[in-house]
């Protein structure tokens, strides 16, 4: 079992309240916290693009994605952009530019058709990418970031 020392440390008032504050107000605001939140309680469902085409975005070889995104909840959640990452076989990752060129507004839960999701990478490398949508959702007195998985390339494990 756990040693008496650890038990005493965990029972220390300062440590206890410090841990409580961190778990309620600190960790949910960090990046891993946002990913964990998005994994267990996502705002949008992962989507499979029905439209994938190469486009030239300001001289940069890019990909335009389109498809139906299912928004699961809305209350208290504000859209805050997308995040896209290019991965390699060793699980290194690098950010890739990504943006919705559709008019983004307040949308109700349900299906939303998006046709202009521009990813700053050529279509043949899209299979190595992962995409997320960022929202800020109400959490007690603060807003907490939620990073919902949106796309997973077919070449990733």
């Amino acid at each position: 079992m756990v040693s008496k020392k650890v038990e005493r440390l965990a029972g220390n008032k300062l440590v206890f309240f410090g841990a409580l504050l961190w778990m309620v107000f600190g960790f949910p605001r960090t990046d891993p916290g946002a990913r964990l939140h998005g994994f267990f309680n996502p705002v949008v469902q992962p989507f499979t693009p029905t439209l994938v085409e190469a486009v030239d975005d300001g001289g940069m070889s890019s990909t335009r994605l389109g498809g139906t995104i299912v928004k699961l909840r809305n209350r208290g959640c504000v859209y805050a952009g997308t995040r896209w990452y290019l991965h390699d076989e060793y699980d290194h990752s690098a950010p890739v530019t990504s943006t919705f060129r559709d008019a983004v507004g307040f949308t109700s839960p349900g299906e939303v058709l998006r046709e202009k999701l521009i990813i700053g990478i050529a279509p043949e490398r899209l299979g190595w990418t992962r995409g997320y949508v960022m929202h800020y959702c109400d959490w007690l007195v603060f807003d907490t970031p939620v990073l919902s998985p949106l796309y997973e390339g077919e070449l990733l494990e």
């Binding site: 038990e7 440590v15 841990a19 961190w22 778990m23 916290g33």
Partner: protein, 73 residues
């Protein structure tokens, strides 16, 4: 088994008075006291478990955040 939740405030006071004044307790009263003590022990054990769980969650999540931060540098 005597059910502790069935103890009224009056019964509790009577028990407390008897114990304070060193008066002998009946078998039923003794069983009630024993169950109360057991309940308290359980309560403390759950509290200890909860504090340990919170402690390790906090340490684990802090290590995760630090690891991600170093990886991103």
């Amino acid at each position: 088994m005597v059910r502790i939740r069935a103890l009224s405030p009056k019964e509790t006071n009577t028990l407390e008075d008897k114990i304070t004044h060193g008066e002998p307790l009946s078998a039923v009263e003794l069983a009630k006291v024993r169950e109360m003590l057991q309940l308290q022990r359980d309560f403390e054990a759950y509290g200890r478990l909860g504090r340990l769980f919170l402690f390790f969650s906090a340490i684990g999540s802090a290590i995760w955040v630090a690891w991600e931060w170093f990886r991103g540098q």
